[in-house]
Each structure stands twice: as structure tokens, then as C-alpha cells.
Symmetry: C2
Subunit: 342 residues, 2 copies
């Protein structure tokens, strides 16, 4: 990120008709967007959320409160416009695109209602269980990231100025916690929560599965691709690709909660400068999320007790970010308003 | 507030196609709006922010970083659409109305650009200094509250479903801190901050002025009208009237930061049930604000380091609230989506 744009933007902020930096983080957001877009007239008007969907072999270990069939059923709901992410994205003025990165189910974009917003990049119909070996081959991890990168590139080429990341995949808090533990250095206990709502026994099982899976596969924390392959997921790789594309194409990317942030950790392990283009939409209720964000140097914009995923927290935060940019562009200067600075 | 509506609304939330209450406070917001509007199809589409403006005799004691002339100049800026509140309200889809509750300056709605959004309820051209006696007469305090109530009533009658409160008045963190100390029982030291940015000497002077003013005037903490008259301000009384009108007409009111919350404290002292209709837009940087919100039993929706006033934090929070209501109304049920609950 070119810091001279931050400085130029801060000079304009100082002229706005209000006490110095009286709108707090709204100024920081706008200035970061100036630097990302290399302009003093940034725009976040054109927005999209990409929901990456995939299934997980680890679901067979009983780590989720929901059965695997729900992944495909929820993707149908996204395409029908009836899920949480659809309502919030409509409110934020963002389109929703869904990518089958590797669901167990197969949906045909031609025949599924709303299928024009479904993209198929199915690496495989679900990962292998990392309780028995690597979740995927290294070549598959690379393919997942490249697919995410390509989808984001298409959207940016179509004019999208701010991209939200979302996820759907039953059991995907389990690989996300594994990634979080490996890449932040925190313990599996610290990183593991109840996901969609497992009970105490389920949580203990989840922690044991993750601990054993890391011991078995020995992911290399200095190699993001290795971590993704050993204990990750296809949709998490797709999200990592979205994040890398944001930095490559100089566009703001708003990550959502625990799974999206695991994807961002993979991207960050491959290319640490991605953090300059990232905004943390919200603080998830999942306890490891704060530790992940700390590792990335990000502070969440919202903290509303959300834990749904799908991109909902990021999409809601888009409304704040767009407001921040409008303040930067639309508020008069002291001179324009004829007000004497204090 | 009729709790049976909360229960009915919670039953609908439980049917939404997501894990139980996975969107956290968004569900609470929507359910409270159901109870306020007594419907399972609430709407927050029609929004307004009322910025109450007034001046303060206490400004002569050197408690603010800005001169008193700025009050009128900023009101001109609001009417011209060039202030922080204008940009954020436009983003939130809220109209902005300004009320001269008692500025030192006189603006003519007929000749001031944008004057169609200026209402005149000037109680007096600024309060008296509460360092020397009561800020206003008890009859003036009552008139200020009634004027705010009337303006809110007009807006509700015109179809406004959610009202944001805002303030403009150089030195008005000083009466607000005094009100906060009297009505919450916290100390003046705890309640007093730097406002628009006084230095250490200014802060010490402000604390001394408030402490002495309370000792001199002896406001009665069991009598909200007395507190407003002794150490308050005309715009703070106007805000109290807006808050009371929200409860009377069963409409959601989103309060902003320190000054708006002081107004809410006055309203709450007169009628504690107003809290059921209130939403705290954000956590101000002013240190006493959290203590005020705690007294009202409110938790802020945003915490972004904002400290501008004008209604900016409340207006930004309106975007969250409207999103919450859209989730409640637009998300499919498990049955509609054909998804099996976990």
C-alpha cells in the first residue's frame, strides 16, 4: 500500500468541518480506501459478496450440529435469495455470487432457480477427512486458491469496488480452527468453539479431532499451501484466492467471521501484504476469531454477537465502510462551510 | 412495551433458516421493533434525524475548544447538506431536520439556504451560565421538552418509523456531564471528558465548573425537569422531548452520543419506560457515555471511536437496525427453504 496516499487523505480529513478526526475509525477506513484505490475520490458503490461452498470429510467425525446435506440445501437457499446473506446483501446493495468449490451435492446452474449466480469450480465432492490423512492434495489446494482468484478477478473486471467473502460448508469451523491454531501458534483449545452449536461432548470431540489431525498431518506453518492442503477446505482455499486477488487488483476485501478469516490467514501466509487491503467485518462469537484477527493486525468493525457465516458480518460492515467513504467525499471543508477551526 | 410481541417475534426468529439466533443482536433489534410497532412485519424504511441546536451560557467559562459562533455556522452547514450528519444520513436514507431550540444566532428559515428543514422553537438565545445560577427557568425546561415532543410528533404523523436524535451546541458536553453526574450518581470526574478537544487545563477547568455548578444549584436527581432547568440546555430538553415522543407514539428512537444520551437521561428520569423504545447508536469516545448507557440499560450498537455528535453515530446505526429488520422479514423459514433444522 502506498503510504503517501494515506498522508494525502489525512490532509483532506483534517480540513473537514468537524473537530480533528471526530469520526474516529470512519476516517481510517476512508483513508485506507484512498490508498487502496490510489485516489482522493474513492468509491465503494459497486459491491459483491462471494459465498464459497464446500464439504468436509471431517464431518464424518461428528464435529457439527448439522448434517452434510445442509451445505447443498443452503446453497439452493442462497440462489433463491432466502438466506441471511441475501437479506443483508440486498440491504447493503451488494450482489451475491455462490461458488461450488467442492460440495458433496451437485447443483446445475442451468436448472437450479437463481442458478445464474452459481459458479462451478468443484475441486472434488468434499475433502478427505484430515483425521486420516491430508484433506486434499497440494495441487488441489493450489487449484482452489486459483479458482477464488479468478472469480474475484472477474468481479473486479466487471466493476466491483468492494468484495465481501462468505462461506458455506457443514463442519467448516473444524478445519478453520485447525488452520487458526497452526498459523497463529495458539492452542487448539483456544481456537476451537461450538460452531453452529455442538454440545459439550461435541466440543471435546472437535478439539480431539483437530489436535490429532494436526499431529498426524504435521502442516508446515511457514507454508500456507501446505496448511490448506493438510487441514483446510476447498471453500477456505477459494476465500484465500479472493483475498489474494483483492491485494493484486487493489480492491478492498471485507472478510466475514471465523471461516473467512481462516481463508485470510492462508492468504496472509502466502503474501503478508494482503492485510493492507483487508477489512474485518465483525467480531464473531467463535472464540478463536479474535486471535486470528490479532494475528492479521485487524480490528473488527462490528461486534453484534453474530456467528452465522455466509458473509453476513462482512456484508453488514459494508454499509459502515460506504458511509465512511461518503463522509470523506461529501462533507464540506472548514473553508467551504465558512466555519473557523478551533 | 408489550412482551407478548417479543415472544411472538422470537418464535418467528426460531424458524429462520440458520442456527438458533445465529445473527445475535440483529435478532434482538428486530424483535424489539416488532414489539414497538406491534407487528410481525415491522418497517424502519422511513427515517429522520432531528438535530437540536442551542447555546450555553457556561461557554463563557472557557470549557470548549470552539467559540460560540460555531453553533450557528454549523447549523447553516447542516441546512446546506455539508456536515457529517448530512453525509451519513443520506447514506442511511434519513432526512435531516434542524431545530433552533435556543441558539445565540438567529437564522431565518425563509432566507437561509436549505431553511425549509429549519424549525424555530427558540426558548431563549442561549441558556444562562449555571456557574452563576440555574441555566434556565423551570417553565423554559418544560417548554423545551414540549417543543421536542411536538417536532417528533409531526415527523411520526408524517410517517417516520425511526427517529435519530442529534445535537449542536458549543460547550454542550459540559451540561451533559453535569446531567450525567446528577442522574447516574457517578462523580463529575468520571463523567467529564474533553468534548471537542480541550487540553489538560481546559479539562480541569471544566470539572471544576461542573462541580461548583452542581453545588450551587443543587439539582434534584428525582426530578428530571429540575435537573434540566438547573444544569441543562435547551437542545438537551428538545432531545428529551424527542425521546418521550418515541415512547408515546410507539416509535423507535436511536440516540447518538454524549449529549443525546444526557437528553435521554432527562426523559428517563421523567418516564423510565422510554428505555424500551430507545436504541443506543454507538459508544462515544467521551468517557462518561458508557456510564450513562449503563444507567439506561442500553448497549451501544457501534463502537468506532466517534465523538462528533450531530446525530452521526445514531444515523450510522440506523443502517444496522434496518438490516436487522430486513433479516427478520426476508429470510426464509426452514420449511420454506426445505432445510432440516439441526
Amino acid at each position: 500500500l502506498d503510504r503517501t496516499w494515506i498522508e494525502k487523505a489525512r490532509q483532506r480529513t483534517a480540513q473537514l468541518v468537524m473537530p480533528p478526526r471526530a469520526l474516529g475509525r470512519l476516517h481510517d477506513i476512508a483513508e485506507q480506501c484512498c490508498a487502496i484505490q490510489q485516489t482522493l475520490s474513492p468509491s465503494l458503490e459497486h459491491k459483491a459478496v462471494v459465498v464459497m461452498a464446500g464439504d468436509h470429510g471431517i464431518a464424518a467425525e461428528g464435529v457439527s450440529a448439522f448434517p452434510q446435506e445442509v451445505t447443498g440445501a443452503m446453497v439452493r437457499t442462497f440462489l433463491a435469495g432466502g438466506a441471511g446473506i441475501n437479506a443483508i446483501a440486498r440491504h447493503a446493495g451488494a450482489r451475491v455470487q455462490v461458488v461450488d468449490m467442492g460440495m458433496a451435492a451437485t447443483l446445475d446452474p442451468q436448472t437450479t432457480p437463481g442458478g445464474d449466480q452459481l459458479k462451478i469450480s468443484k475441486i472434488a465432492p468434499g475433502t478427505a477427512s484430515f483425521a486420516r490423512g491430508p484433506a486434499m492434495a497440494r495441487t488441489q489446494a493450489e487449484a482452489a486458491i486459483m479458482a477464488g482468484f479468478a472469480h474475484a478477478t472477474d468481479l473486479f473486471d466487471a466493476g466491483v469496488q468492494m468484495l465481501g467473502t462468505g462461506d458455506m460448508g457443514i463442519a467448516n469451523t473444524t478445519p478453520s480452527a485447525a488452520i487458526g491454531a497452526v498459523l497463529t501458534g495458539c492452542t487448539v483449545d483456544q481456537m476451537t468453539g461450538r460452531g453452529t452449536g455442538v454440545d459439550d461432548a461435541g466440543l471435546a470431540r472437535k478439539i480431539a479431532v483437530i489436535t490429532d489431525g494436526i499431529a498426524l498431518n504435521r502442516p508446515d506453518p511457514t507454508d500456507g499451501l501446505d496448511v490448506l492442503a493438510k487441514v483446510g477446505g476447498f471453500e477456505i482455499g477459494g476465500i484465500a484466492g479472493l483475498v489474494l486477488a483483492g491485494a493484486y487488483h487493489r480492491r478492498a476485501v471485507v472478510i466475514d467471521g471465523f471461516i473467512s478469516t481462516a481463508g485470510a490467514l492462508i492468504a496472509h501466509a502466502l503474501c503478508p501484504t494482503v492485510a493492507d487491503y483487508l477489512f474485518a467485518g465483525h467480531q464473531s462469537e467463535e472464540p478463536g476469531h479474535a486471535l486470528m484477527l490479532h494475528h492479521l493486525g485487524l480490528a473488527p468493525l462490528l461486534s453484534l454477537g453474530m456467528r452465522l457465516g455466509e458473509g453476513t458480518g462482512g456484508a453488514m460492515a459494508m454499509t459502515i465502510m460506504e458511509g465512511a467513504v461518503r463522509v470523506f467525499k461529501e462533507v464540506m471543508t472548514f473553508d467551504q462551510a465558512g466555519v473557523t477551526a478551533g
